[in-house]
Each structure stands twice: as C-alpha cells, then as structure tokens.
Symmetry: C2
Subunit: 183 residues, 2 copies
C-alpha cells in the first residue's frame, strides 16, 4: 500500500483560492501554493495534472462561493428577491475582489455568451413583480444588470468606495427611474 495523500484535491483547491485572494491570479504559482500548504510542489502535481488544472479548480470554487453569496442574500429576506440578486453580486465583488475579477471581469473574447440560465430564472420574477412583458422584462433586466455590474466592477477595482446603504440607495434610484421608462 502506498502512503496516504498529504492533502486532498479540495484542500489544495482551497489553498489555491486563498493564494488567489492574497496575490491575485498571477500570484498563484506552484511554489506559492506549496508554501501556503506547507509542503513541496509535489503533492500539487500528484493530484492535479498541471497548474492550468489548478486555475480551473479555482474558477469553479469561485463560482461556488459566488453562488453561496447569491443563496444567502436571496433567502435572507433583507431585500426583495430581484434586488437581492444584485446586492449579492455587489457584495461578492466587495468581499472577494480577486474572485470577482476572475469570474466577471475576465475577457470573454472567445467564449460564446453563455445562455445564462440564471437569467432565465429571474425574468419571470420581474414579469410578475412589474407586469412587464417578457421582452420588456428582458431589456429591463439587461439594463439593471449593466448598473449592477458597473457598481460591482468599480468596487472590485477600488474605483468606488460605497457602503451597503449607498449601494442600496443607488439601486433604488435606478430601479424606480427605469420603471418610469417602461410603461
């Protein structure tokens, strides 16, 4: 029987996320990750084919973390459902800057625009809340998403420093403002 693995894939992925948080995606090197784990680089390459696979695992982990933000804010009842989804996106950008940049500010150059399954779930909520048609609701959502992404990305890059109250107020401005446009 061979010796046990010193770390699991999940432990290594988690450490890789921490390195990314501290040093950004470019700081995630084999040696930096090994140091974070307190081992040599060998255990990493024992469980991952190469560093590219580690980066990919970090992307997936970041996506999971984002979804936990979404789930938390969508069930807290603190904001109406639709607003909560935007607040979660922005909160993720604020508290997990590097992960946000990794997921939502990277170049989509090649990749086709995702079918955005999340959006499919949100449109009905808007239609129900506002009484807009599907087409109007889709445009409304796209425009609101521009705002949410704008705020989030500006916060992620320290272009803006807003607290939750300010964010909430600005979101309301846009929501009520846009609502008057869609009649």
């Amino acid at each position: 029987m061979p010796p046990k693995f010193k770390f699991t894939r999940d432990e290594i992925t988690s450490a890789a996320v921490n390195v990314t948080r501290k040093k950004g995606p470019d700081g995630l090197t084999a040696r930096a990750l090994a140091e974070e784990l307190g081992c040599s680089v060998k255990p990493i390459f024992g469980l991952f084919k190469n560093m590219e696979e580690v980066q990919s695992a970090v992307m997936n982990a970041a996506q999971d973390i984002y979804e936990s933000y979404l789930a938390e804010d969508m069930t807290s009842g603190k904001y109406p459902l639709y607003k909560a989804s935007g607040m979660a996106y922005i909160r993720f950008a604020k508290e997990e800057r590097e992960l946000f940049k990794l997921l939502f500010m990277r170049d989509r150059g090649g990749e086709p625009l995702e079918p955005t399954r999340e959006v499919d779930a949100i449109i009905p909520i808007i239609m129900k809340t506002t009484g807009l048609s599907r087409e109007q609701a889709e445009r409304f959502h796209l425009e609101m998403w521009v705002v949410v992404h704008g705020i989030a990305s500006m916060i992620a890059t320290s272009y803006l420093i807003w607290n939750e109250e300010q964010i909430s107020g600005v979101m309301t401005d846009f929501y009520t403002g846009l609502r008057t446009v869609y009649k």
Copy 2:
C-alpha cells in the same frame, strides 16, 4: 559624435502601444517590443530606464488616445455634450479594449481616488442643462457614470456586444429614467 538613435522615444512608445493592443499588457515584453520595432532590445533600454518606464509611457499614451476620443465626440455635435462624453468613453472601450482595460479596469488599490478634474468641468454642464443643484448634479453624474462605466467595461471584456444605436438607446433610458428621480 555618437551615431544617431535608431528610434525616438515616441516611436518606441507607439510600438509599445501596438504590442499592448495585440497582446495585452502582459504581452508587452522587451523582446516582443523589439520585434515590433524590428531591432534588438538595446534601443529600448537606451531610451528607457527599464520596462516599467515603457509601461508607464504606454499608460500616458493611452490616456492621450482616450482624450482624443473625448475631444472628437465632444465637438462632433452628434450628441448633446454630456451624452457625448459617455459615448466617447464607451467608444474608446470598444475600439481600444486593451487600452481601456489598462486605464479604467486596473486596480486602484493604493492610489487615492483622483480629484477627477474632468468631472469638475462636467458638473456645471449638468447643472445648466437640468437645473439640478450642485449636490444633485454630482450624484446624478456619479450614477450616470456607473452606467457608462458598466456598459464600457462589459463591452471591453466582450461581456456585451452592442452597436452604437443600442448604446445610445440604453443611455437615453437611463438618462430619462434618472431625471424622473431627481426632482
């Protein structure tokens, strides 16, 4: 007397901008720049202290290019002045993705938020056009800027693909929508 320089600082900077356009900031290496110029790396280090200084020159050049976009759209008369400034920002993001990312999507972590001299020039335009107070105009502008930056950054990363007409329409939605909020 020494031999003449093979290139000027400006020529090298211009080539560096082109490399950045093609390969992004990380692709701007001494050797890549030398190849773009058709020479060895020596002329570069003869006129620039190091690559960091070249990168800095690229930033300045990018800023100049952005300002030329601004100047062009602000004088074309195609859009009202205030809208034109936003359209220029977005057009710059669309046509100069890498330069836009360099200037407006980099982390401002350390740097203090600039006093934004540009903004000082724009606020009076808004006050005059809308009749809002200075305080209201500043908030209105900040919110519009969130939208403009949101659209621009989404376009720069291929998160969105919009033509000028769509952009103009969405800008109008936000402008008229927000105007109803500021009474």
